[in-house]
């Protein structure tokens, strides 16, 4: 019996060694995903952007001012929204083989100048909308990581969704932050160690003491201001915030999975939108649990890492370590 078990263990080790093949990179997507990308081809997936001017009113989507292929409007927010939507589309299409938010080529509808002095940007289930800010708290919302964040909410919705409350809501927010940050890093061609890992850098008003909305590198440090208070994001489960505010802390506790992604990406080094981004995207496509907890999500990312980079790969080991460091043991 013991001899049989030893033989089995030996076989498992051999199989794992074949799969991990120390020294050789295992950065590839699954054969099915690769075939899909090859079949579609980078040049075949094209966005269909439709940018509207809300004319500072509440009605959506407003007046269509720039369609796909149109020349610049000269309206700064509209042209930035157009360019940024193209970059987000490209991240999902060229890196992950996804055809728009619904993976079926849906138009990218956005409204700029939504309401007057509106201090927010959102995805409403159908489209993106961007306020201008009141110039005091916020100066703009047309920033690449913000646009990536909002469009990622669309991808999440069409990938099975994550209920927008408590831990599943915080995952929804975190995954939107991850792909927002990855859009920016890819746009600037920054490797993980070069990126600032801020979401919404530079959008706070001129008199606000802060760098951004959130920091994935150091959650809880994005701003500290007399008016806004202190960034409340935790980075570890020991400091998980139990609250009914903010739909159960969806923008607060997202700091924990955000930091796990940051740790994983910086452990690996290189371009974070490649292996780490592919693993997160693959996990999102495989999750199939709108009420997922942080632990469920961590487990799914490990499964994805094993599928994409090989069972027992160094990537999977480092990912497990990243989750452990934020207090989520798998």
């Amino acid at each position: 019996m013991a001899r049989k078990l030893l033989k089995q263990n030996e076989k498992v080790r051999e199989e794992r060694a074949e799969m991990t093949d120390i020294g050789a990179p295992h950065h590839e997507l699954s054969p099915a995903a690769l075939n899909r990308i090859a079949a579609q081809g980078e040049s075949k997936l094209k966005p269909d952007r439709q940018i509207h001017d809300g004319q500072y009113k509440a009605a959506l989507p407003g007046k269509l001012i720039r369609s796909e292929g149109d020349t610049e409007t000269g309206i700064a927010d509209a042209d930035t929204a157009y360019d940024a939507a193209g970059q987000v589309f490209s991240l999902f299409a060229d890196e992950y083989g996804r055809n728009s938010l619904d993976d079926d080529g849906m138009p990218l509808v956005a409204t700029v100048h939504h309401r007057r002095n509106y201090n927010n940007a959102f995805w409403d289930g159908k489209q993106m909308a961007y306020g201008t800010g009141d110039g005091k708290l916020f100066r703009t919302f047309l920033e690449l990581s913000v646009v990536g964040h909002e469009m990622a909410h669309g991808v999440i919705q069409y990938s099975g969704g994550l209920l927008y409350e408590n831990q599943s809501g915080a995952l929804n927010e975190s995954i939107a932050d991850v792909f927002g940050s990855l859009t920016l890093q890819r746009g600037l061609a920054l490797e993980a160690h070069e990126a600032d890992w801020l979401v919404g850098r530079g959008i706070l008003g001129p008199d606000i003491n802060g760098a951004a909305l959130r920091s994935m590198k150091a959650p809880g440090t994005a701003y500290s201001d007399d008016l806004l208070g202190q960034d409340p994001q935790p980075w570890h489960m020991d400091h998980f915030v139990v609250t009914t505010d903010d739909n159960g802390g969806v923008h607060i506790n997202s700091g924990i999975p955000n930091h796990a992604f940051y740790l994983f990406a910086t452990y690996l080094g290189g371009k974070a939108w490649e292996i780490p981004g592919r693993i997160w995207y693959h996990a999102l496509q495989s999750l199939n649990n709108p009420m997922a907890s942080f632990s469920d999500w961590a487990d799914q990312t490990i499964k994805s890492a094993n599928e994409l980079t090989g069972n027992g790969s160094s990537e999977a080991v480092m990912l497990r370590r990243a989750w452990k460091l934020v207090g989520i043991a798998i």
């Binding site: 201090n119 927010n120 959102f122 995805w123 289930g125 909002e150 909410h153 208070g229 607060i252």
Partner: protein
Amino acid sequence: MCFSLNCSHHNPLNCIVPPYMLRVLELRGDEPWRIWRASY
């Protein structure tokens, strides 16, 4: 339409700015209609 700054009253909106950051508008003494206009 309520004047609450809680996003849940206005779902399905996935806002990037959380309600606790916008609550300062209320503390600043802005009238409810102004908070609503500025935030939702």
